[in-house]
Assembly symmetry: C2
Homo-oligomer: 313 residues x 2
Protein backbone atom coordinates (compact mmCIF):
# COMPACT_ATOMS: atom_id res chain seq x y z
CA UNK A 1 0.00 0.00 0.00
CA UNK A 2 1.35 3.43 -1.03
CA UNK A 3 0.42 6.32 1.24
CA UNK A 4 -0.06 9.63 -0.55
CA UNK A 5 0.16 12.79 1.57
CA UNK A 6 -1.25 15.98 0.09
CA UNK A 7 -3.61 14.05 -2.17
CA UNK A 8 -5.92 17.02 -2.66
CA UNK A 9 -3.24 19.35 -4.04
CA UNK A 10 -2.34 19.96 -7.67
CA UNK A 11 0.56 17.51 -7.64
CA UNK A 12 -1.21 15.10 -5.28
CA UNK A 13 -4.20 14.81 -7.59
CA UNK A 14 -1.87 13.90 -10.45
CA UNK A 15 -0.38 11.14 -8.27
CA UNK A 16 -3.85 9.87 -7.38
CA UNK A 17 -4.83 9.67 -11.06
CA UNK A 18 -1.60 7.93 -12.02
CA UNK A 19 -1.63 5.38 -9.19
CA UNK A 20 -5.27 4.55 -9.96
CA UNK A 21 -4.53 4.13 -13.66
CA UNK A 22 -1.58 1.86 -12.85
CA UNK A 23 -3.60 -0.21 -10.38
CA UNK A 24 -1.16 0.54 -7.61
CA UNK A 25 -2.95 0.20 -4.27
CA UNK A 26 -2.77 3.55 -2.49
CA UNK A 27 -4.50 5.66 0.12
CA UNK A 28 -4.69 9.40 -0.33
CA UNK A 29 -4.52 10.94 3.10
CA UNK A 30 -5.73 14.38 4.02
CA UNK A 31 -4.90 16.24 7.20
CA UNK A 32 -8.56 16.01 8.21
CA UNK A 33 -8.32 12.22 8.32
CA UNK A 34 -4.87 11.92 9.84
CA UNK A 35 -2.98 14.67 11.67
CA UNK A 36 0.17 13.75 9.80
CA UNK A 37 2.12 16.71 11.09
CA UNK A 38 2.76 14.62 14.22
CA UNK A 39 5.40 11.93 14.07
CA UNK A 40 3.62 9.54 16.43
CA UNK A 41 0.25 9.87 14.68
CA UNK A 42 1.77 9.38 11.24
CA UNK A 43 3.95 6.43 12.34
CA UNK A 44 0.94 4.69 13.90
CA UNK A 45 -1.09 5.27 10.76
CA UNK A 46 1.67 3.93 8.50
CA UNK A 47 2.02 0.85 10.65
CA UNK A 48 -1.72 0.16 10.72
CA UNK A 49 -2.02 0.73 6.97
CA UNK A 50 0.90 -1.60 6.27
CA UNK A 51 2.49 1.14 4.20
CA UNK A 52 5.15 0.09 1.69
CA UNK A 53 6.02 3.57 0.49
CA UNK A 54 5.06 7.15 1.35
CA UNK A 55 4.76 9.92 -1.23
CA UNK A 56 4.85 13.38 0.31
CA UNK A 57 3.11 15.66 -2.16
CA UNK A 58 2.01 18.02 0.60
CA UNK A 59 3.50 21.45 0.76
CA UNK A 60 2.69 25.12 1.04
CA UNK A 61 3.06 26.97 -2.26
CA UNK A 62 1.13 30.17 -1.65
CA UNK A 63 -2.00 31.34 -3.42
CA UNK A 64 -2.35 32.85 -5.99
CA UNK A 65 1.44 32.67 -6.23
CA UNK A 66 4.67 32.40 -4.32
CA UNK A 67 4.42 36.00 -3.09
CA UNK A 68 1.81 34.77 -0.59
CA UNK A 69 4.52 32.80 1.22
CA UNK A 70 6.13 36.08 2.28
CA UNK A 71 3.02 36.85 4.32
CA UNK A 72 2.57 33.29 5.66
CA UNK A 73 6.08 32.42 6.69
CA UNK A 74 5.21 30.08 9.53
CA UNK A 75 2.86 28.03 7.35
CA UNK A 76 5.44 28.04 4.59
CA UNK A 77 8.12 26.71 6.93
CA UNK A 78 5.77 24.21 8.52
CA UNK A 79 4.60 22.77 5.20
CA UNK A 80 7.90 22.81 3.34
CA UNK A 81 10.62 22.37 5.94
CA UNK A 82 9.11 20.79 9.07
CA UNK A 83 6.69 18.32 7.47
CA UNK A 84 9.40 16.56 5.40
CA UNK A 85 11.27 15.91 8.64
CA UNK A 86 8.15 14.54 10.28
CA UNK A 87 7.57 12.21 7.32
CA UNK A 88 11.17 11.08 7.39
CA UNK A 89 11.12 10.33 11.10
CA UNK A 90 7.75 8.54 11.05
CA UNK A 91 8.91 6.45 8.08
CA UNK A 92 12.18 5.60 9.82
CA UNK A 93 10.25 4.33 12.86
CA UNK A 94 8.25 1.87 10.77
CA UNK A 95 11.05 1.31 8.24
CA UNK A 96 9.13 2.50 5.21
CA UNK A 97 10.91 4.39 2.42
CA UNK A 98 9.60 7.74 1.26
CA UNK A 99 9.61 10.10 -1.69
CA UNK A 100 9.40 13.85 -1.13
CA UNK A 101 8.27 16.30 -3.80
CA UNK A 102 10.86 19.05 -3.56
CA UNK A 103 11.47 21.88 -5.98
CA UNK A 104 14.11 23.00 -8.43
CA UNK A 105 13.27 26.54 -7.27
CA UNK A 106 16.20 26.33 -4.87
CA UNK A 107 18.51 27.19 -7.78
CA UNK A 108 18.98 30.28 -9.89
CA UNK A 109 20.60 30.45 -13.32
CA UNK A 110 23.07 27.82 -14.45
CA UNK A 111 26.43 26.52 -13.29
CA UNK A 112 29.29 28.89 -14.14
CA UNK A 113 30.02 26.95 -17.33
CA UNK A 114 26.40 27.32 -18.48
CA UNK A 115 25.40 23.73 -17.78
CA UNK A 116 22.48 22.69 -15.60
CA UNK A 117 22.75 22.24 -11.85
CA UNK A 118 23.42 18.70 -10.72
CA UNK A 119 22.16 16.92 -7.65
CA UNK A 120 25.60 17.34 -6.10
CA UNK A 121 25.46 21.14 -6.34
CA UNK A 122 24.51 23.17 -3.30
CA UNK A 123 21.32 25.21 -3.73
CA UNK A 124 22.18 28.80 -4.66
CA UNK A 125 18.70 30.28 -4.22
CA UNK A 126 18.24 29.70 -0.51
CA UNK A 127 18.48 31.29 2.91
CA UNK A 128 22.11 30.21 3.05
CA UNK A 129 22.91 32.29 0.00
CA UNK A 130 20.72 35.10 1.35
CA UNK A 131 19.06 35.27 -2.04
CA UNK A 132 15.67 33.64 -2.33
CA UNK A 133 11.96 33.89 -1.84
CA UNK A 134 10.74 32.64 1.54
CA UNK A 135 9.25 29.70 -0.38
CA UNK A 136 12.57 28.70 -1.96
CA UNK A 137 14.35 29.17 1.34
CA UNK A 138 11.86 26.87 3.06
CA UNK A 139 12.08 24.22 0.32
CA UNK A 140 15.90 24.23 0.54
CA UNK A 141 15.69 23.86 4.34
CA UNK A 142 13.28 20.96 3.73
CA UNK A 143 16.03 19.16 1.81
CA UNK A 144 18.46 19.85 4.67
CA UNK A 145 15.96 18.51 7.16
CA UNK A 146 15.76 15.34 5.09
CA UNK A 147 19.37 14.77 5.91
CA UNK A 148 21.14 15.15 2.61
CA UNK A 149 22.92 18.25 3.84
CA UNK A 150 23.86 20.93 1.43
CA UNK A 151 26.01 19.55 -1.32
CA UNK A 152 26.17 15.85 -0.76
CA UNK A 153 26.21 13.28 -3.47
CA UNK A 154 23.43 11.11 -2.19
CA UNK A 155 23.57 8.51 -4.92
CA UNK A 156 25.55 6.04 -2.85
CA UNK A 157 23.40 4.41 -0.27
CA UNK A 158 23.61 0.71 -0.76
CA UNK A 159 20.16 0.23 -2.23
CA UNK A 160 20.41 -2.05 -5.24
CA UNK A 161 18.96 -1.02 -8.58
CA UNK A 162 16.70 -3.36 -10.51
CA UNK A 163 13.07 -4.33 -10.00
CA UNK A 164 12.12 -6.34 -6.97
CA UNK A 165 15.31 -5.70 -5.00
CA UNK A 166 14.75 -5.24 -1.30
CA UNK A 167 15.43 -1.88 0.25
CA UNK A 168 18.67 -1.75 2.14
CA UNK A 169 18.33 0.45 5.18
CA UNK A 170 21.39 1.93 6.78
CA UNK A 171 21.16 3.30 10.26
CA UNK A 172 21.05 7.06 10.32
CA UNK A 173 20.98 7.57 6.57
CA UNK A 174 18.06 9.07 4.72
CA UNK A 175 15.84 6.38 3.32
CA UNK A 176 14.02 8.02 0.51
CA UNK A 177 13.94 10.18 -2.56
CA UNK A 178 14.01 13.91 -2.97
CA UNK A 179 12.35 14.64 -6.29
CA UNK A 180 12.79 18.13 -7.65
CA UNK A 181 9.84 19.43 -9.64
CA UNK A 182 10.16 22.62 -11.71
CA UNK A 183 7.26 24.74 -13.02
CA UNK A 184 4.71 22.01 -13.77
CA UNK A 185 2.72 22.05 -16.98
CA UNK A 186 0.30 19.66 -18.66
CA UNK A 187 -2.37 19.57 -21.36
CA UNK A 188 -5.29 20.43 -19.07
CA UNK A 189 -6.05 24.09 -18.35
CA UNK A 190 -5.75 24.96 -14.66
CA UNK A 191 -4.57 27.91 -12.58
CA UNK A 192 -1.47 25.93 -11.57
CA UNK A 193 -0.52 24.90 -15.11
CA UNK A 194 2.43 26.98 -16.42
CA UNK A 195 1.02 27.06 -19.96
CA UNK A 196 -2.34 28.37 -18.72
CA UNK A 197 -0.55 30.95 -16.56
CA UNK A 198 1.38 32.29 -19.53
CA UNK A 199 -1.88 32.60 -21.50
CA UNK A 200 -3.43 34.68 -18.69
CA UNK A 201 -0.67 36.98 -17.46
CA UNK A 202 -0.76 40.52 -18.83
CA UNK A 203 3.01 40.74 -18.95
CA UNK A 204 5.61 38.00 -19.13
CA UNK A 205 9.17 37.72 -17.88
CA UNK A 206 11.57 36.17 -20.38
CA UNK A 207 13.83 33.67 -18.67
CA UNK A 208 15.48 30.35 -19.35
CA UNK A 209 14.19 27.38 -17.38
CA UNK A 210 13.86 23.69 -16.91
CA UNK A 211 10.24 22.55 -16.71
CA UNK A 212 8.40 19.42 -15.58
CA UNK A 213 5.50 17.93 -17.52
CA UNK A 214 3.36 17.02 -14.51
CA UNK A 215 2.35 13.50 -15.53
CA UNK A 216 5.83 12.61 -16.72
CA UNK A 217 7.13 13.86 -13.37
CA UNK A 218 4.68 11.62 -11.53
CA UNK A 219 5.45 8.61 -13.69
CA UNK A 220 9.21 9.11 -13.37
CA UNK A 221 9.07 9.44 -9.59
CA UNK A 222 6.89 6.36 -9.15
CA UNK A 223 9.38 4.55 -11.39
CA UNK A 224 12.15 5.47 -8.94
CA UNK A 225 10.25 3.48 -6.38
CA UNK A 226 9.28 0.57 -8.64
CA UNK A 227 12.80 0.13 -9.96
CA UNK A 228 14.34 0.47 -6.53
CA UNK A 229 16.56 3.26 -7.82
CA UNK A 230 19.22 4.36 -5.32
CA UNK A 231 17.86 6.69 -2.67
CA UNK A 232 18.84 10.31 -2.99
CA UNK A 233 18.10 13.53 -4.80
CA UNK A 234 16.79 13.52 -8.38
CA UNK A 235 16.15 16.44 -10.68
CA UNK A 236 12.89 15.36 -12.33
CA UNK A 237 12.51 17.79 -15.22
CA UNK A 238 12.14 17.28 -18.95
CA UNK A 239 15.59 17.26 -20.56
CA UNK A 240 16.64 20.49 -22.20
CA UNK A 241 15.92 24.09 -21.42
CA UNK A 242 13.46 26.59 -22.76
CA UNK A 243 12.93 30.35 -22.69
CA UNK A 244 9.59 31.99 -22.01
CA UNK A 245 9.64 33.40 -25.58
CA UNK A 246 10.08 29.91 -26.98
CA UNK A 247 7.11 28.65 -24.94
CA UNK A 248 5.00 31.58 -26.16
CA UNK A 249 6.00 30.79 -29.77
CA UNK A 250 4.81 27.22 -29.24
CA UNK A 251 1.51 28.47 -27.76
CA UNK A 252 0.93 30.83 -30.69
CA UNK A 253 1.88 28.23 -33.29
CA UNK A 254 -0.39 25.65 -31.64
CA UNK A 255 -3.38 27.92 -32.15
CA UNK A 256 -4.48 27.35 -28.53
CA UNK A 257 -4.28 31.00 -27.52
CA UNK A 258 -3.04 33.21 -30.34
CA UNK A 259 -2.58 36.80 -29.19
CA UNK A 260 0.20 39.28 -28.80
CA UNK A 261 2.23 38.36 -25.73
CA UNK A 262 3.90 41.33 -24.07
CA UNK A 263 7.08 41.02 -22.02
CA UNK A 264 8.56 42.97 -19.15
CA UNK A 265 11.59 44.96 -20.27
CA UNK A 266 13.76 43.05 -17.81
CA UNK A 267 13.76 41.40 -14.41
CA UNK A 268 14.08 44.76 -12.67
CA UNK A 269 10.81 45.94 -14.23
CA UNK A 270 9.17 42.64 -13.32
CA UNK A 271 10.29 42.96 -9.71
CA UNK A 272 9.17 46.58 -9.62
CA UNK A 273 5.72 46.09 -11.15
CA UNK A 274 4.60 42.56 -10.45
CA UNK A 275 6.50 40.68 -7.76
CA UNK A 276 7.15 40.96 -4.05
CA UNK A 277 9.91 38.37 -3.94
CA UNK A 278 12.46 37.21 -6.51
CA UNK A 279 11.66 34.18 -8.67
CA UNK A 280 13.92 31.27 -9.35
CA UNK A 281 14.76 30.78 -13.00
CA UNK A 282 17.16 27.93 -13.49
CA UNK A 283 18.38 25.03 -15.55
CA UNK A 284 18.75 21.59 -14.00
CA UNK A 285 20.85 18.70 -15.22
CA UNK A 286 18.75 15.56 -15.74
CA UNK A 287 21.40 12.96 -16.41
CA UNK A 288 21.12 11.27 -13.01
CA UNK A 289 17.51 10.30 -13.64
CA UNK A 290 18.38 9.13 -17.15
CA UNK A 291 21.26 7.02 -15.83
CA UNK A 292 18.74 5.41 -13.48
CA UNK A 293 17.00 4.25 -16.65
CA UNK A 294 14.07 6.65 -16.43
CA UNK A 295 13.37 8.72 -19.54
CA UNK A 296 11.39 11.93 -19.97
CA UNK A 297 10.46 13.73 -23.20
CA UNK A 298 12.64 16.63 -24.43
CA UNK A 299 11.09 19.80 -23.07
CA UNK A 300 10.09 21.47 -26.38
CA UNK A 301 8.50 18.23 -27.55
CA UNK A 302 6.66 17.83 -24.25
CA UNK A 303 5.32 21.39 -24.50
CA UNK A 304 4.19 20.86 -28.10
CA UNK A 305 2.44 17.62 -27.08
CA UNK A 306 0.60 19.30 -24.22
CA UNK A 307 -0.59 22.09 -26.54
CA UNK A 308 -1.60 19.60 -29.25
CA UNK A 309 -3.90 17.84 -26.75
CA UNK A 310 -5.01 21.01 -24.95
CA UNK A 311 -8.17 20.61 -22.86
CA UNK A 312 -9.98 23.75 -21.72
CA UNK A 313 -11.25 23.90 -18.17
CA UNK B 1 -4.59 37.25 32.51
CA UNK B 2 -1.10 36.55 31.15
CA UNK B 3 -0.72 33.34 29.17
CA UNK B 4 2.66 31.66 29.52
CA UNK B 5 3.64 29.15 26.82
CA UNK B 6 6.47 26.77 27.58
CA UNK B 7 5.87 27.07 31.31
CA UNK B 8 7.69 23.82 32.08
CA UNK B 9 10.97 24.83 30.47
CA UNK B 10 13.97 26.43 32.16
CA UNK B 11 13.00 29.95 31.15
CA UNK B 12 9.27 29.28 31.52
CA UNK B 13 9.71 28.16 35.13
CA UNK B 14 11.52 31.39 35.89
CA UNK B 15 8.58 33.33 34.45
CA UNK B 16 6.12 31.29 36.50
CA UNK B 17 8.05 32.02 39.71
CA UNK B 18 8.32 35.74 38.93
CA UNK B 19 4.67 36.21 37.91
CA UNK B 20 3.56 34.38 41.06
CA UNK B 21 5.81 36.50 43.25
CA UNK B 22 4.50 39.68 41.61
CA UNK B 23 0.89 38.59 41.99
CA UNK B 24 0.32 38.86 38.26
CA UNK B 25 -2.54 36.57 37.24
CA UNK B 26 -1.22 34.06 34.74
CA UNK B 27 -1.85 30.62 33.31
CA UNK B 28 1.06 28.41 32.41
CA UNK B 29 0.03 26.36 29.42
CA UNK B 30 1.57 23.10 28.33
CA UNK B 31 1.09 21.45 24.99
CA UNK B 32 -0.73 18.60 26.71
CA UNK B 33 -3.45 20.99 27.83
CA UNK B 34 -3.68 23.09 24.71
CA UNK B 35 -2.34 22.14 21.27
CA UNK B 36 -0.93 25.63 20.87
CA UNK B 37 0.91 24.77 17.68
CA UNK B 38 -2.40 25.35 15.88
CA UNK B 39 -3.49 28.93 15.27
CA UNK B 40 -7.21 28.23 15.64
CA UNK B 41 -6.79 26.25 18.87
CA UNK B 42 -4.53 28.88 20.41
CA UNK B 43 -6.73 31.80 19.32
CA UNK B 44 -9.82 30.13 20.79
CA UNK B 45 -7.97 29.46 24.02
CA UNK B 46 -6.71 33.05 24.28
CA UNK B 47 -10.21 34.37 23.68
CA UNK B 48 -11.79 32.07 26.26
CA UNK B 49 -9.08 32.88 28.81
CA UNK B 50 -9.50 36.62 28.23
CA UNK B 51 -5.77 36.86 27.66
CA UNK B 52 -4.16 40.29 28.02
CA UNK B 53 -0.66 39.27 27.06
CA UNK B 54 1.10 36.13 25.83
CA UNK B 55 4.65 35.18 26.79
CA UNK B 56 6.17 32.62 24.46
CA UNK B 57 8.91 30.91 26.45
CA UNK B 58 8.52 27.70 24.43
CA UNK B 59 11.29 26.65 22.13
CA UNK B 60 13.52 23.78 21.17
CA UNK B 61 17.05 24.10 22.51
CA UNK B 62 18.41 20.59 22.17
CA UNK B 63 19.52 18.29 24.98
CA UNK B 64 22.13 18.07 26.41
CA UNK B 65 23.23 20.98 24.22
CA UNK B 66 22.71 22.77 20.95
CA UNK B 67 24.43 19.99 18.99
CA UNK B 68 21.24 17.94 19.38
CA UNK B 69 19.42 20.41 17.14
CA UNK B 70 21.54 19.23 14.22
CA UNK B 71 19.92 15.80 14.55
CA UNK B 72 16.40 17.11 15.19
CA UNK B 73 16.08 19.77 12.55
CA UNK B 74 12.35 19.53 11.98
CA UNK B 75 11.62 19.87 15.71
CA UNK B 76 14.11 22.69 15.95
CA UNK B 77 12.40 24.58 13.12
CA UNK B 78 8.94 23.81 14.45
CA UNK B 79 9.69 25.04 17.94
CA UNK B 80 11.85 28.05 17.10
CA UNK B 81 10.62 29.34 13.74
CA UNK B 82 7.08 28.06 13.13
CA UNK B 83 5.66 28.40 16.66
CA UNK B 84 6.47 32.13 16.96
CA UNK B 85 4.46 32.70 13.78
CA UNK B 86 1.56 30.69 15.15
CA UNK B 87 1.62 32.74 18.37
CA UNK B 88 1.77 35.98 16.43
CA UNK B 89 -1.15 35.05 14.19
CA UNK B 90 -3.34 33.71 17.01
CA UNK B 91 -2.62 36.87 19.03
CA UNK B 92 -3.44 39.10 16.05
CA UNK B 93 -6.81 37.37 15.68
CA UNK B 94 -7.81 38.17 19.25
CA UNK B 95 -5.80 41.42 19.39
CA UNK B 96 -3.56 40.43 22.24
CA UNK B 97 0.07 41.58 22.33
CA UNK B 98 2.84 39.06 22.76
CA UNK B 99 6.43 38.73 23.92
CA UNK B 100 8.70 36.13 22.36
CA UNK B 101 11.84 34.81 24.02
CA UNK B 102 14.38 34.93 21.22
CA UNK B 103 18.12 34.54 21.47
CA UNK B 104 21.21 36.65 21.03
CA UNK B 105 22.79 33.51 19.54
CA UNK B 106 21.94 34.84 16.09
CA UNK B 107 25.04 37.04 16.30
CA UNK B 108 28.73 36.29 16.34
CA UNK B 109 31.51 38.58 17.57
CA UNK B 110 31.04 42.34 17.70
CA UNK B 111 30.28 45.09 15.23
CA UNK B 112 33.33 46.04 13.12
CA UNK B 113 34.17 48.89 15.52
CA UNK B 114 34.18 46.49 18.47
CA UNK B 115 30.86 47.66 19.92
CA UNK B 116 27.92 45.40 20.68
CA UNK B 117 25.28 44.50 18.13
CA UNK B 118 22.20 46.72 18.17
CA UNK B 119 18.61 45.75 17.52
CA UNK B 120 18.88 47.38 14.09
CA UNK B 121 21.73 45.11 13.01
CA UNK B 122 20.98 42.11 10.83
CA UNK B 123 21.83 38.78 12.45
CA UNK B 124 25.23 37.56 11.24
CA UNK B 125 25.04 34.03 12.67
CA UNK B 126 22.13 32.72 10.64
CA UNK B 127 21.16 30.70 7.59
CA UNK B 128 21.30 33.89 5.55
CA UNK B 129 24.97 34.33 6.37
CA UNK B 130 25.50 30.60 5.86
CA UNK B 131 27.32 30.53 9.17
CA UNK B 132 25.39 29.18 12.13
CA UNK B 133 24.24 26.19 14.07
CA UNK B 134 20.85 24.86 13.01
CA UNK B 135 19.54 26.24 16.30
CA UNK B 136 20.74 29.78 15.62
CA UNK B 137 19.47 29.59 12.05
CA UNK B 138 16.04 28.55 13.28
CA UNK B 139 15.95 31.29 15.96
CA UNK B 140 16.87 33.93 13.36
CA UNK B 141 14.14 32.63 11.05
CA UNK B 142 11.77 32.88 14.02
CA UNK B 143 12.47 36.60 14.22
CA UNK B 144 11.82 36.93 10.49
CA UNK B 145 8.57 35.02 10.87
CA UNK B 146 7.56 37.53 13.53
CA UNK B 147 7.63 40.15 10.87
CA UNK B 148 10.52 42.36 11.83
CA UNK B 149 12.44 41.35 8.74
CA UNK B 150 16.17 41.24 8.85
CA UNK B 151 17.54 44.61 9.82
CA UNK B 152 14.58 46.75 10.59
CA UNK B 153 14.50 49.32 13.32
CA UNK B 154 11.38 48.19 15.04
CA UNK B 155 11.35 50.81 17.73
CA UNK B 156 8.86 52.98 15.90
CA UNK B 157 5.43 51.51 16.07
CA UNK B 158 3.11 54.04 17.57
CA UNK B 159 2.74 52.37 20.94
CA UNK B 160 3.08 54.96 23.67
CA UNK B 161 5.53 54.52 26.49
CA UNK B 162 4.48 55.07 30.10
CA UNK B 163 2.48 52.87 32.44
CA UNK B 164 -1.17 52.29 31.72
CA UNK B 165 -1.16 53.47 28.11
CA UNK B 166 -3.34 51.40 25.83
CA UNK B 167 -1.75 49.32 23.13
CA UNK B 168 -1.94 50.89 19.73
CA UNK B 169 -2.43 48.25 17.08
CA UNK B 170 -1.57 48.96 13.49
CA UNK B 171 -2.87 46.70 10.78
CA UNK B 172 -0.23 44.34 9.47
CA UNK B 173 2.49 45.35 11.91
CA UNK B 174 3.94 43.05 14.52
CA UNK B 175 2.29 43.59 17.84
CA UNK B 176 4.75 42.32 20.32
CA UNK B 177 8.25 42.09 21.72
CA UNK B 178 11.20 40.06 20.63
CA UNK B 179 13.38 39.63 23.70
CA UNK B 180 16.87 38.34 23.11
CA UNK B 181 18.26 36.17 25.89
CA UNK B 182 21.94 35.24 25.96
CA UNK B 183 23.50 32.37 27.94
CA UNK B 184 21.29 32.46 31.05
CA UNK B 185 22.81 32.16 34.51
CA UNK B 186 21.48 32.47 38.05
CA UNK B 187 22.40 31.61 41.63
CA UNK B 188 20.74 28.16 41.63
CA UNK B 189 22.70 25.19 40.34
CA UNK B 190 21.06 23.54 37.32
CA UNK B 191 22.19 21.85 34.11
CA UNK B 192 20.98 24.89 32.12
CA UNK B 193 22.75 27.48 34.29
CA UNK B 194 25.90 28.81 32.56
CA UNK B 195 27.83 29.03 35.85
CA UNK B 196 27.03 25.42 36.68
CA UNK B 197 28.02 24.37 33.16
CA UNK B 198 31.42 26.01 33.49
CA UNK B 199 31.97 24.22 36.79
CA UNK B 200 31.25 20.85 35.13
CA UNK B 201 32.89 20.99 31.70
CA UNK B 202 36.24 19.29 31.43
CA UNK B 203 37.56 21.90 29.03
CA UNK B 204 36.43 25.47 28.45
CA UNK B 205 36.43 27.73 25.43
CA UNK B 206 37.58 31.27 26.15
CA UNK B 207 35.34 33.76 24.40
CA UNK B 208 33.84 37.19 25.00
CA UNK B 209 30.11 37.32 25.54
CA UNK B 210 27.05 39.12 26.73
CA UNK B 211 25.10 37.14 29.33
CA UNK B 212 21.62 37.30 30.85
CA UNK B 213 20.97 36.83 34.54
CA UNK B 214 17.80 34.77 34.20
CA UNK B 215 15.66 36.50 36.81
CA UNK B 216 16.74 39.95 35.70
CA UNK B 217 15.86 38.92 32.15
CA UNK B 218 12.40 37.83 33.24
CA UNK B 219 11.82 40.97 35.29
CA UNK B 220 13.03 43.25 32.48
CA UNK B 221 10.81 41.59 29.89
CA UNK B 222 7.71 41.71 32.07
CA UNK B 223 8.57 45.38 32.65
CA UNK B 224 8.41 45.94 28.87
CA UNK B 225 4.81 44.82 29.05
CA UNK B 226 3.89 46.67 32.24
CA UNK B 227 5.41 49.95 31.06
CA UNK B 228 3.90 49.62 27.60
CA UNK B 229 7.33 49.99 26.07
CA UNK B 230 7.27 50.34 22.28
CA UNK B 231 6.90 47.02 20.52
CA UNK B 232 9.96 45.67 18.82
CA UNK B 233 13.23 43.88 19.38
CA UNK B 234 15.14 44.22 22.67
CA UNK B 235 18.52 42.85 23.61
CA UNK B 236 17.89 41.77 27.20
CA UNK B 237 21.36 41.08 28.54
CA UNK B 238 23.28 42.48 31.49
CA UNK B 239 25.25 45.55 30.40
CA UNK B 240 28.91 44.95 29.69
CA UNK B 241 30.78 41.99 28.35
CA UNK B 242 32.77 39.22 29.96
CA UNK B 243 35.27 36.58 28.90
CA UNK B 244 35.08 32.96 30.01
CA UNK B 245 38.37 33.43 31.89
CA UNK B 246 36.89 36.34 33.81
CA UNK B 247 33.86 34.24 34.77
CA UNK B 248 36.14 31.42 35.90
CA UNK B 249 38.16 33.91 38.02
CA UNK B 250 34.92 35.00 39.68
CA UNK B 251 33.97 31.38 40.35
CA UNK B 252 37.35 30.62 41.89
CA UNK B 253 37.42 33.79 43.97
CA UNK B 254 33.85 33.12 45.21
CA UNK B 255 34.98 29.80 46.64
CA UNK B 256 31.96 28.03 45.10
CA UNK B 257 33.98 25.64 42.99
CA UNK B 258 37.72 26.23 43.34
CA UNK B 259 39.69 23.99 40.99
CA UNK B 260 41.98 24.32 38.04
CA UNK B 261 39.93 25.21 35.00
CA UNK B 262 41.48 24.05 31.73
CA UNK B 263 40.84 25.75 28.41
CA UNK B 264 40.85 24.61 24.82
CA UNK B 265 43.82 25.98 22.91
CA UNK B 266 41.48 27.81 20.55
CA UNK B 267 38.12 27.57 18.81
CA UNK B 268 39.52 25.16 16.21
CA UNK B 269 40.44 22.68 18.96
CA UNK B 270 37.03 23.15 20.57
CA UNK B 271 35.27 22.43 17.27
CA UNK B 272 37.51 19.46 16.63
CA UNK B 273 37.19 17.84 20.06
CA UNK B 274 33.88 18.89 21.55
CA UNK B 275 31.34 20.39 19.16
CA UNK B 276 29.36 19.31 16.14
CA UNK B 277 28.21 22.78 15.21
CA UNK B 278 29.72 26.25 15.74
CA UNK B 279 28.71 28.27 18.81
CA UNK B 280 27.70 31.88 18.88
CA UNK B 281 29.91 34.10 20.99
CA UNK B 282 28.84 37.71 20.79
CA UNK B 283 28.42 41.06 22.45
CA UNK B 284 25.06 42.81 22.37
CA UNK B 285 24.36 46.51 22.88
CA UNK B 286 21.84 47.07 25.69
CA UNK B 287 21.15 50.78 25.36
CA UNK B 288 17.69 50.36 23.82
CA UNK B 289 16.38 48.58 26.92
CA UNK B 290 18.02 51.17 29.17
CA UNK B 291 16.47 54.01 27.16
CA UNK B 292 13.10 52.33 27.73
CA UNK B 293 13.80 52.91 31.43
CA UNK B 294 14.58 49.31 32.30
CA UNK B 295 17.86 48.68 34.13
CA UNK B 296 19.87 45.53 34.59
CA UNK B 297 22.95 44.93 36.74
CA UNK B 298 26.42 45.20 35.16
CA UNK B 299 27.41 41.70 34.09
CA UNK B 300 30.46 41.19 36.40
CA UNK B 301 28.42 42.42 39.36
CA UNK B 302 25.52 40.14 38.41
CA UNK B 303 27.87 37.15 38.20
CA UNK B 304 29.45 37.97 41.56
CA UNK B 305 26.00 38.28 43.15
CA UNK B 306 24.86 34.93 41.77
CA UNK B 307 28.00 33.27 43.12
CA UNK B 308 27.65 35.01 46.49
CA UNK B 309 24.16 33.50 46.88
CA UNK B 310 24.99 30.17 45.25
CA UNK B 311 22.50 27.37 46.01
CA UNK B 312 23.52 23.79 45.29
CA UNK B 313 20.99 21.50 43.59
Amino acid sequence: MVILLGASGYVGQAYARYLSAENIAFAGVSRRDVDYGRVDVLADFLGAARAEFVINAAGYTGKPNVDACEAHRAECLRGNAVLPGVVREACARVRVPWGHVSSGCIFSGTRPDGSGFRETDAPNFSFRKNLCSFYSGAKALGEEVLGYGEAVDATVDGAEAGGGARWVFREGEPEGFIWRLRIPFENVESPRNYLAKLMCYKLLLDAENSLSQLHEFVRATVECWRRRAPFGIYNVTNPGRVTTREVVDLIVRSGVCPKEYVFFKDEAEFMHLAAKTPRSNCVLDTSKLRHAGIAMTEVHDALAQALRHWVRA
